[in-house]
């Protein structure tokens, strides 16, 4: 983004924004704190690839329903499997599912956002109305409907969440593109006779990127929550394969005898989502122009 060749085509406002961004500092307290939490969760998942306190599927009938203790930090389940080990392995599944779902949704949402925002016309009218209609159904309900269609598995959860999040991405990106396409610098590029694809990539993508970062973080938090929710409802990754969602439904059956099962697995979800949310909040303050204008209209500080 800082290539000198591109600066000829970038507008003054973008340069000014870039200055603000640098002086404000990309690394505010919340970005660092949220990023650290997220890093710890990802690190736990990565460590789980090569080492866990116990093998995730190793049963130990002598240690069934062991309460949290030194040997089993979050206790064990009905087969004596170590919850911490299972949650570490499950973290991989959960994080991969949410990341893939959000990635797919962002990619499709970008394409739809640009089609509707830049091309306008009939495509815009039809697609925008379809997106309005989809937004009238809560994302978790859309996801439930799709899992019902495809059957419960890791793949269908990923597809379901991707479809459920796409409308939000399309809506947000369309707004940014519509605002940008009437700027004089875009008009200039079109006046030069540049093909649409060049205009989109060189002039319209840069203003979308910061908002995409913010939207991706927000959706990632939802992705982790919704994967776990689907699992809790019995429609996510199916036990005995570990994921945070599947651990929750296993834990639910024994929540009276062994409350550490649902609480322990849920705590991983809380830490992960908290990290992503704090990171997203910090990034929004730095990157989202909508948050700046609100900030500048106040005398000091800013409202979230």
């Amino acid at each position: 983004m800082t290539a000198p060749a591109a600066s000829a085509a970038t507008p003054v406002t973008a340069q000014r924004r870039r200055g603000t961004l640098r002086s404000r500092g990309l690394l505010n307290g919340r970005v660092v704190f949220g990023g650290t939490l997220l890093f710890i969760v990802v690190a736990v998942a990565v460590v789980g690839l090569v080492w866990t306190p116990y093998p995730a599927d190793a049963t130990n009938l002598q240690a069934r329903f062991a309460a949290p203790q030194w040997l089993h930090l979050i206790g064990t389940d009905e087969l004596g499997r170590d919850i911490l080990s299972r949650a570490m392995v499950g973290a991989q599944t959960s994080l991969i599912i949410s990341a893939c779902a959000v990635g797919i949704a962002a990619a499709i949402g970008t394409v739809i956002g640009f089609l509707t925002g830049y091309m306008r016309g009939v495509i815009d009218i039809v697609l925008s109305r379809v997106i309005d209609a989809m937004l009238a159904v809560p994302a978790l309900v859309v996801a439930l409907g799709i899992v019902a269609m495809l059957g419960a598995s890791a793949t269908s959860v990923t597809v379901a969440l991707a479809v459920a999040y796409t409308p939000q991405f399309s809506r947000v990106f369309r707004g940014v593109v519509v605002a940008a396409r009437d700027q004089t610098y875009v008009e200039a590029s079109r006046g030069l006779g540049l093909p649409a694809i060049v205009v989109v990539v060189k002039d319209l993508l840069p203003p979308v990127l910061p908002i995409m970062v913010v939207q991706v973080t927000t959706s990632l938090a939802w992705g982790i929550l919704d994967e776990a929710s689907l699992g809790f409802l019995g429609l996510g990754v199916q036990p005995p394969a570990p994921s945070w969602g599947s651990l929750l439904i296993e834990g639910r059956q024994y929540m009276y005898d062994a409350p550490w099962l649902p609480i322990g697995a849920g705590a991983f979800v809380v830490v992960a989502v908290l990290g992503v949310n704090i990171l997203g909040d910090g990034l929004r303050d730095v990157l989202d122009p909508r948050a700046w204008t609100r900030r500048h209209s106040y005398r000091k500080g800013g409202a979230k």
Partner: protein, 314 residues
């Protein structure tokens, strides 16, 4: 006001129409042949063809859609269940009182916690109270409903034995028990949604304090408390009503989890059961009802906002 109401209403009609098309299409894009799946291994091709005919699935798509829609409007008929082969509409109607009761309880907790927390944080911006409330809000945003609900059950039902761990009695049968039953699920839902409302209320309260009329009031020497309650709160509230309307979708989504956790026989339970058993018509019907509820409630919230804040009607 009437003109504005009519305008909003006109916008909602095509949306509802499109929703009906989308839910209809949902059934069409299911991979494989649901009818063959419904009959299981015993379904000979002749039987499958016969059932397809009975269900009207051998007609053209537009004619199927027309048939479905006209039945829906003329008789409120949402088709028959794939699994039980019983009409869906009466089953759905049965569940609506429980769902409404839970929604209202959840809404009361959401509004009470969200408005109070958001207003206090906004009024005392940048003080320790604001920082504490904003911290709680952020943790609340990240806490899944099933987690907080499980902890509530363990504390209030298992440990303290104050409230039942789940179950439902209709309001008409035993009002006291019914309200007791709905307290915990409603509170869990409120805890899940109040953080959003608190954030918006905080932002609205902060914004209002910079309006010229408040600067004027301050210049006149009005006491801080009078100013906050009579001027700031009154002007911050209307814009949060739209947020409540938009949050209804999340309220319904969160309800799916809450109903399952507290064993509450509402609409969402039908959705989950339908999804688990792959009862496509049931899933389709519940999604349609939820979407229509959402559109109607949203419309109500926007009209309430317009009624409370004349600036919107312009």
């Amino acid at each position: 006001m009437l003109k504005y109401a009519l305008y909003r209403l006109c916008l909602a009609v095509p949306l509802l129409f499109l929703l009906s098309i989308l839910t209809f299409v949902y059934i069409q894009i299911i991979p494989g042949d649901p009818v063959a799946g419904m009959l299981g291994p015993g379904g000979t091709p002749a039987l499958v063809a016969q059932l397809r005919h009975e269900l009207g699935l051998d007609q053209s798509l537009p004619s199927q859609y027309w048939h479905w829609l006209s039945n829906l409007f003329a008789h409120g008929d949402l088709g028959i269940s794939f699994i039980t082969r019983q009409p869906i509409t009466p089953v759905l109607m049965d569940r609506i009182p429980a769902t409404l009761q839970l929604t209202v309880t959840g809404l009361i907790f959401t509004v009470a916690l969200g408005w109070l927390g958001g207003f206090l944080a906004g009024a005392f911006k940048d003080t320790w109270a604001d920082r504490m409330l904003s911290g709680i809000t952020l943790v609340g945003l990240s806490t899944p409903v099933f987690w907080i609900g499980t902890i509530l059950i363990l504390v209030f039902a298992v440990h303290l034995r104050w409230l039942p761990a789940g179950g439902y009695v209709p309001l008409a049968v035993d009002p006291v028990q019914s309200i007791k039953d709905s307290l915990m699920p409603g509170f869990a839902m409120g805890l899940g949604l109040a953080p959003y409302l608190a954030r918006m209320t905080r932002a609205a309260t902060v914004e209002v304090q910079h309006e010229p009329f408040l600067r004027h009031a301050r210049a006149k020497g009005l006491r801080g408390r009078t100013m906050l309650l009579r001027y700031a709160a009154r002007n911050a509230v209307p814009s949060t009503i739209v947020v409540i309307g938009l949050q209804l979708g999340a309220l319904i989504g969160g309800q799916v989890v809450v109903e399952q956790l507290f064993n509450w026989p509402g609409l969402s339970r039908l959705l989950i059961e339908g999804a688990v058993q792959r009862d496509y018509y049931m899933v389709q019907a519940v999604i349609l009802v939820i979407a229509v509820l959402y559109v109607v409630l949203n419309l109500a919230a926007e009209l309430a906002h317009a009624a409370l804040d004349p600036r919107i009607r312009l």
